[in-house]
């Protein structure tokens, strides 16, 4: 029987121009890795055109231990306060290899 360990999954949906800044943030706080997916959508800042390659959205996923979540959320909140449009949500996930997510990748 494979054992499962709890971790947090932080998801952020935003404009793709924010990608570099989010990657910087992740590296600054030493996450073990992250995943980026192209997306389109609509929200309070209007529609992110899925019809042209310009001005699309990204969905960013980061799995972190609970202890690391708060500092990331604080950084996200600072960005929100500056006016950046980020749709942020956290979910509970379970993983097989918790050590993978508890240390910086490189």
């Amino acid at each position: 029987m494979v054992e499962l360990y709890p971790e947090k999954l932080l998801s952020i949906i935003t404009n793709d121009s924010m990608q570099e800044r989010l990657e910087c943030m992740f590296k600054k706080y030493g996450v073990s890795g992250f995943t980026i997916i192209q997306a389109s959508g609509e929200g309070s800042s209007g529609m992110a055109s899925e019809m042209s390659g310009f001005d699309g959205n990204i969905l960013v996923k980061v799995i972190v231990p609970e202890s690391q979540l708060q500092v990331l959320l604080e950084s996200v909140e600072r960005k929100l306060r500056k006016g950046y449009h980020l749709t942020v949500f956290v979910s509970d996930v379970q993983v097989i290899t918790p050590e993978k997510f508890n240390k910086k990748s490189r």
Partner: protein, 344 residues
């Protein structure tokens, strides 16, 4: 007459087809990356061509053109900003973000103008092409300066942050605010993708061996017009999607999307004809540079630099109103205008 011939240009007709496809709610969708690939090709092709010609050009005129491109790029956003603030329909930060788009340029509009001039058999200088490359960046910088000014006056008026419609208005915290990493945004302005392709291709076109260029010509010449048609077809659909948002923007702002290019067109025509002394074709292209608004390079820059501004405003104006206006009726107007100046 000349405006009718504009409407029978394949490039313009394909733009219209794109608009119509959306209006009749066709399920036609181009892959998201197609417009990007086509615009990479178009910038590369026009850059190579321009660089090849410019290698033979007069350096003094070239420098003069660059200087006036900078002046246009700095002046037009300020005119736009003042006009927008006067309407009192948008916040100062929105005004800054919108007006930055009008100091910059739209390569799609520029290329349509070239297709138009080729079609009516009017020749033009290559210098406006350098101006196209140069004008992408200063407008972004002006946008930043105007936004910094706007933030300052907001901060002076208010002491506590006020939460606005959906977004929280920025408090100017020390050095880390959106206006804080100014140097970084400045670098972004001058290294944006379109500028790199355009200037890079111009340099390559200028320094490559002639035999190397010879092998490239079929690629950059023969399929150019077809690719432009495909690009405008796609952009017609993208633009039409924004036209619907136009009620949301309001009549006064929509009007700005038509008046501002006319103002920019007049200023550009004057600079091109009277100051730089270009031919009718060349001055028409400078007028188009003045009239057109960026919808590729500036929007993401403004998202980063002025996150408090509402993207719906500037995207609807530049992409949904000014771009179709210029492509369909603006270009022949600017051409007639320059003809009138040249005649008068």
């Amino acid at each position: 007459m000349s405006s009718l011939s504009n409407l029978l240009l394949p490039a313009v007709l394909f733009f219209a087809l794109g608009v119509i496809a959306r209006l009749i709610k066709s399920d036609l969708r181009f892959p998201p990356d197609l417009a990007k690939v086509l615009s990479i090709y178009l910038l590369m092709a026009i850059g190579l061509h321009g660089g090849y010609e410019l290698a033979k050009a007069d350096l003094v005129i070239a420098m003069n053109s660059i200087m006036w491109a900078l002046i246009l790029g700095f002046t037009l956003p300020i005119i736009g900003y003042l006009a927008l603030v006067m309407t009192r329909k948008v916040s100062p930060l929105d005004a800054a973000a919108i007006s930055a788009h009008y100091g910059s340029v739209s390569a799609g509009t520029f290329l349509t103008a070239i297709a138009y001039l080729d079609n009516v058999g009017v020749t033009y200088e290559t210098y406006p092409l350098i101006m196209l490359a140069v004008m992408e960046s200063p407008a972004i910088v002006v946008g930043l300066i105007l936004a910094a000014k706007a933030r300052h006056s907001i901060a002076a008026r208010e002491t506590a942050p006020v939460s606005g419609g959906g977004a929280v208005i920025s408090t100017p915290d020390n050095g880390d605010g959106p206006g804080g990493k100014f140097s970084e945004l400045l670098r972004d302005a001058f290294t944006n993708g379109s500028v790199v392709i355009l200037i890079g291709s111009m340099v390559i076109g200028a320094i490559s061996t002639p035999s190397g260029m010879q092998q490239l010509f079929p690629f950059i010449d023969e399929i150019f017009m077809g690719v432009l048609c495909l690009f405008l077809f796609d952009m017609g659909m993208v633009a039409a999607r924004r036209i619907g948002d136009f009620r949301q923007v309001g009549w006064l702002l929509a009007l700005f999307g038509i008046v501002m290019p006319l103002v920019g067109g007049v200023v550009g025509a004057y600079v091109g004809h009277a100051i730089l002394g270009f031919s009718v074709g060349g001055a028409t292209l400078v007028a188009v540079l003045g009239a057109s608004a960026s919808y590729i390079a500036v929007p993401p820059a403004m998202r980063l630099a002025i996150p408090e501004a509402n993207p719906s405003f500037y995207l609807t104006l530049s992409l949904g109103i000014t771009f179709p206006f210029n492509v369909i009726v603006g270009i022949p107007i600017y051409h007639s205008l320059v003809q009138a100046m040249a005649a008068g």
